[in-house]
């Protein structure tokens, strides 16, 4: 499976720099996060294999992200924004362990 792209969604200031690397950047805020997200994901014909989303924006998008958890494409990865990390990424890791093991062993 070839020719997928990478997208970054987040507040303008945090994600602007990624544009220089040739990654598609979609600035969003909490209000339009859902619209931007569904526009980027396009479930029936995904163009992006990896989506990096700032942790702040994963909060309003939680249900949408959880729905795509077991899909191969896209991989949705929370990243810290310019305000630093909210530890949501680590929490996701712990919840995956909990799901697999049945209790948190870390």
């Amino acid at each position: 499976m070839n020719g997928y792209k990478i997208a970054v969604i987040g507040d303008r200031e945090s994600v602007m720099g990624f544009r220089a690397l040739g990654i598609d950047v979609f600035p969003a805020d909490e209000e339009n996060a859902k619209a931007v997200f569904t526009g980027v994901v396009r479930a029936e014909d995904p163009a992006y294999a990896i989506l990096y989303i700032t942790e702040e924006l994963t909060i309003p998008l939680r249900t949408e992200i959880d729905a795509l958890k077991d899909e191969l494409i896209p991989a949705i990865i929370p990243i810290p924004s310019k305000n630093g990390t909210l530890n949501l990424g680590m929490n996701a890791l712990n919840s995956a362990v909990e799901r697999a093991v049945g209790s948190n062993i870390l």
């Binding site: 220089a20 077991d70 191969l72 991989a75 990390t85």
Partner: protein, 218 residues
């Protein structure tokens, strides 16, 4: 005693249930092995993922701090303009790797141009050095971000598969297998009971026939 419903205590059912029990026991053993192996791989990926995430979070924090510096030194319009038309482009190829029946992605990464300086899509006249630095750092941390994406997606997919396998193992171990064992015991007992009742009936009939023939009282 939990006996399977709709079971008639016949020799045929007994044989069938015994065969099913054998398959179930075998399946249980296999699934248990699968679960253990998945778990081993999973924990490995979790550890990898944890280290990568810490690295990425640290790298991104640095890159964003220097980006903040750059935006202090440059007007927002120029900053925006400088990044407007990237020279570089990336594409991702996905290859599937199969670990214990879970397909996990491996990302191959292709850039449009090979030249390292192509990550700076602007002339150097209007921009500050901090912007170069921040983009430098971003491109460095980006390698790890790709690895993180792979580890994180693999982790999620494997967690789902482990959960499924664990449920199946438990269902076999605590429901299916005991139920079949109970059913086998139930059928065996019922058959023995039938046999005994046949024996007693025969004895009784024999007595009656003897009595009629000899007019003999026991």
């Amino acid at each position: 005693m939990a006996v399977m419903s709709d079971i008639k205590p016949t020799r045929m059912e007994l044989k069938k249930t015994k065969a099913r029990l054998k398959t179930a026991t075998r399946g249980h053993k296999l699934l248990k092995d699968k679960r253990d192996e998945l778990m081993r791989n999973f924990l490995q990926i979790v550890r990898e993922n944890k280290a990568l995430r810490q690295k990425v979070e640290k790298g991104l924090a640095e890159a964003m701090a220097s980006m903040a510096n750059a935006s202090r030194l440059m007007s927002p319009e120029i900053l925006e303009q400088s990044l407007l038309c990237p020279k570089q482009g990336v594409e991702v190829d996905i290859q599937l790797k199969n670990i214990m029946s879970v397909n996990i992605p491996e990302y191959g990464f292709r850039t449009r141009t090979d030249a390292a300086e192509d990550i700076y899509p602007y002339g150097y006249a209007m921009t500050s050095g901090e912007l170069d630095e921040s983009i430098d750092r971003l491109s460095e941390v980006f390698r790890d971000m790709l690895e993180l994406a792979r580890a994180e997606k693999s982790m999620q997919l494997m967690a789902a598969e482990i959960e499924r396998t664990r449920r199946r193992v438990n269902a076999l171990e605590y429901v299916m297998i005991p139920q079949m064992q109970d059913t086998i015991r139930y059928i065996t007992m019922k058959l023995e009971e039938n046999e005994r009742s046949t024996t007693t009936r025969l004895m009784k009939v024999k007595d009656q026939i003897l009595q009629e023939a000899h007019d003999f009282e026991y």
